[in-house]
């Protein structure tokens, strides 16, 4: 018990040191470019969390990331390096447009149907990587990267052809008003309850069910898991499918739950990088779905608050990105070290 407590304290302390290092390193860079780091950081954090509207906007940025982080996190829990959330999110967005934009359903049912369909498409897009891994041992990094590109071009094609909005070829058909989640404030909608709920469900799945135990066992020590009679195939399959559902949901949030466009642009600009940002969020959240919720809110705060560093402290926007990147890398290091340590031990 005390060992567990020490471990938990240690991971919190590590994250705290990481935050400090990231913020100091970013501050030194700002000093080097003759900007005012204190004013910039005040602008960043008060902009992101210092007002109701800022907080709502930061939460809007966090909404898709907490679930796209789950994709990577459940992968790591099963000892997989699943980076397919990016493509699965595109496909999820397409699913949300198909049901949300082209099918007539009563309000209340419509958003749920569109969300579920989007999640199922995301899971379906994860399936080939899972099957290749189980059946032929194809490394998931290779298969998911390739599937990401296939998803990118397929989605672009669909927007420019069958799903394009007539007269506005730069975007797809928007979700019908009946399919949209109600707006809470700024660009935050009620879909955040769905994403938080999903993270909680995955937590229960991982730590309160037999399948979750098996998944973690396979991830921690495949050899021991084999002797204990656990099925690594099943663990891999479950990990990919849960990850696909999560990424599909991440894509759906930008269609059914993000004003003002409620649709997907032909550049995929409003879903681009959700999956890759999710990896960073998962690492900051120590690959735990609940840690991911808080990490996503922090990351969303950086995404939203960054503009105030530029606006109030005059920091060049390129430098804002670099500073945010440094903070994120510093925060991700403890988990990267932990993953590497686990790899070496097994």
């Amino acid at each position: 018990m005390s060992g567990q407590l020490v471990a938990r304290f240690r991971s919190v302390a590590e994250s705290g040191v990481a935050v400090a290092i990231g913020i100091i390193a970013g501050g030194l860079i700002m000093l080097a470019f003759r900007y005012d780091p204190i004013r910039a950081y005040i602008a960043l954090f008060t902009g992101a969390f210092g007002s109701v509207s800022g907080l709502l906007e930061s939460l809007a940025f966090a909404t898709p990331l907490m679930v796209s982080a789950v994709t990577f996190a459940v992968g790591v829990r099963a000892s997989l390096f699943n980076i397919g959330a990016e493509g699965q999110a595109y496909v999820g967005a397409i699913g949300a447009i198909i049901v949300g934009g082209t099918v007539l359903l009563p309000p209340g049912v419509h958003p749920i149907a569109a969300t579920v369909f989007a999640m199922c498409l995301g899971a379906a897009w994860a399936l080939p990587a899972a099957i290749l891994k189980i059946w032929r041992g194809v490394h998931e990094v290779v298969s998911t990267i390739m599937l990401n590109w296939i998803a990118f071009w397929l989605t672009t094609y669909l927007i420019r052809t069958y799903l394009g909005e007539p007269g506005r070829t730069e975007r797809a058909i928007p979700a019908l008003p009946t399919a949209r989640y109600p707006v809470i404030g700024e660009t935050l909608t009620a879909i955040i309850f769905v994403t938080v709920g999903f993270c909680l469900l995955v937590t229960i799945l991982l730590w309160r069910t037999g399948i979750g135990f098996e998944l973690r066992l396979v991830g921690d020590n495949p050899e021991a898991a084999k002797y204990a009679g656990a099925s690594s195939s099943r663990a891999i399959l479950v990990s990919f499918l849960v990850g696909g559902l999560a990424a599909g949901l991440a894509g759906a949030t930008q269609i059914l739950g993000r004003p003002p466009s409620w649709t997907l642009y032909a550049t995929l600009g409003n879903v681009l990088n959700l999956g890759f940002d999710g990896i960073a969020v998962a690492l900051i959240g120590r690959n735990h779905p609940i840690g991911g919720i808080f990490a996503a809110i922090f990351y969303g705060g950086l995404l939203h608050g960054g503009r105030f560093m530029e606006y109030q402290a005059g920091v060049a926007s390129e430098l804002v990105e670099a500073i945010n990147g440094i903070i994120v890398i510093a925060l991700a290091i403890p988990e990267i070290v932990a993953i590497l340590r686990r790899r070496r031990e097994s």
Partner: protein, 440 residues
């Protein structure tokens, strides 16, 4: 066992030293920052000043065209009217609304400028939420966005028609079979450029026939479908895609390639430079045609002309009206959408937005290249300003005067309203198909 414990103890000792170092760094950095705080740079829009905010789309700055032109106009307005210019660069599509809102909430901002059609939905939402704030959007009409939004649109089809004519006659003069055009995303706004360019090519061949009583050499005999090569890259930012689209056009014998793809279009110039260097050429043919800005300085000797779209004038105009307090009046008079083009007026005063680049424009835009070098830290100007000017002048003089006469004739016809260029932005799918059947 003891050995393991020893290592563990060592590890924690290292951590403690690291901890001390980190705390030391924190203290030093905090002290340094606090000292620096007193001599810090002021924010871009300090309280008590009047400012204009420019919000970009995801393509951002550095395109030497569309977005940079908006900042040029903002800079000039700031200088002339004693304003401060604040920029909000959008990194993601989801930045549009929060960026516009950040500017809208600032009481010092007298005008929020949205650069590009991609921000239309966001402007619509934000303008309704902040009815007291003035907004302006480039390249999008005010479609019920409210009485506080000025939409500024241009007549790109007309400028494209003129450069299409110049390109076609240049191909005829040098006996090339084709011309080309590389475009960004396939949206109504960009279709307007494409159809205008094709229409200009068609007009030029008829003009040649009438003038010299014979079909234009080579290009006049090329089947309509193959005369004007076109490609949509789907991007306004990816230079590689622009390069890949232009390369085969030059290989197929295009004398001139017109670029309508922002930063992506600079790839056209790269493809051209590469084949010119391989052949040891110092001036065209082949050529390319620049867009939005005067890009004649970019690859001097190979840039035939530029189809200018004065985004800077649009920003300047809106800022001027906002300073004078006349913005809403003009929005009311015009129904919210101001057209800047060839022979256009705003409240009775002539304000033009489109033209074909001249030597006078070149001076102004060489300066923009110098500013661009400062901004990106990369070398942009290929040679000294004087050399650029003499190279461009030599290239222009090498072309027969009848090409420039034709361009002038077309421009005057457009200005007087005698010549009508089809505007693809407003076309239905059937109308577009009809024009494609005629123009290729």
């Amino acid at each position: 066992m003891t050995k393991t414990l020893g290592i563990l103890a060592n590890r924690s000792a290292i951590t403690r030293i690291q901890g001390i170092i980190i705390i030391a760094i924190v203290v030093i950095a905090a002290a340094g920052a606090a000292a620096y705080y007193f001599m810090a740079t002021p924010p871009p829009c300090p309280s008590g000043s009047k400012c204009i905010a420019i919000v970009t789309d995801v393509n951002g700055r550095g395109d030497l065209a569309f977005n940079d032109m908006a900042f040029l106009g903002g800079d000039m307005a700031a200088k002339d009217f004693g304003l401060k210019l604040v920029e909000l660069i959008s990194r993601k599509d989801s930045d549009y609304v929060p960026n516009l809102e950040t500017a809208a909430k600032d009481p010092n901002i007298i005008l929020v400028v949205a650069v590009g059609f991609m921000l239309a939905d966001a402007v619509n939402a934000t303008a309704h939420k902040y009815p007291d704030k003035n907004f302006m959007i480039i390249d999008y009409p005010n479609l019920n966005f409210g009485p506080n939004v000025m939409g500024i649109v241009y007549e790109e089809h007309k400028a494209s028609a003129i450069v299409g004519a110049i390109a076609t006659l240049t191909a005829a003069y040098y006996k090339y079979a084709r011309i080309g055009v590389v475009l960004g995303m396939e949206v109504p706004l960009i279709l307007k450029f494409e159809i205008g360019y094709r229409w200009g090519a068609d007009w030029a061949l008829k003009w040649y026939q009438a003038k010299f009583n014979e079909t234009a050499p080579v290009i006049g005999d090329t089947p309509v479908k193959e005369r004007v090569l076109s490609a949509y890259t789907g991007s306004f930012s990816d230079i590689v895609k622009g390069y890949e689209a232009a390369k085969p056009m030059y290989e197929k014998g295009a004398a001139v390639v017109y670029q309508v793809a922002g930063q992506c279009g600079l790839g056209v110039a790269q493809a051209l430079k590469e084949s010119a260097t391989a052949k040891g050429l110092t001036k065209g043919p082949p050529f390319w045609i620049g867009v939005d800005a005067d890009q004649d300085w970019y690859v001097p000797g190979f840039t035939l002309v530029s189809a200018m779209k004065r985004v800077d004038k649009g920003v300047y105009l809106a800022a001027q009206l906002a300073v004078q307090g006349k913005l809403r009046q003009v929005i009311q008079e015009t129904g919210g959408t101001v057209v800047l083009g060839i022979g256009t007026t705003v409240s009775g005063t002539p304000v033009e937005g489109n033209s074909v680049s001249t030597m006078a424009d070149l001076d102004e835009f060489i300066q923009m290249g110098i500013n661009g070098e400062k901004l990106t830290g990369k070398k942009l100007l290929p040679m000294s300003p004087e050399e650029i000017k003499s190279t461009v002048a030599a290239m222009r003089n090498a072309l027969p005067s009848w090409i420039w006469d034709a361009a002038k004739e077309l421009e005057e016809g457009i200005r007087s309203g005698e010549i009508k260029v089809p505007n693809a932005q407003m076309m239905t799918a059937e109308e577009l198909a009809q024009w494609r059947a005629v123009l290729g």
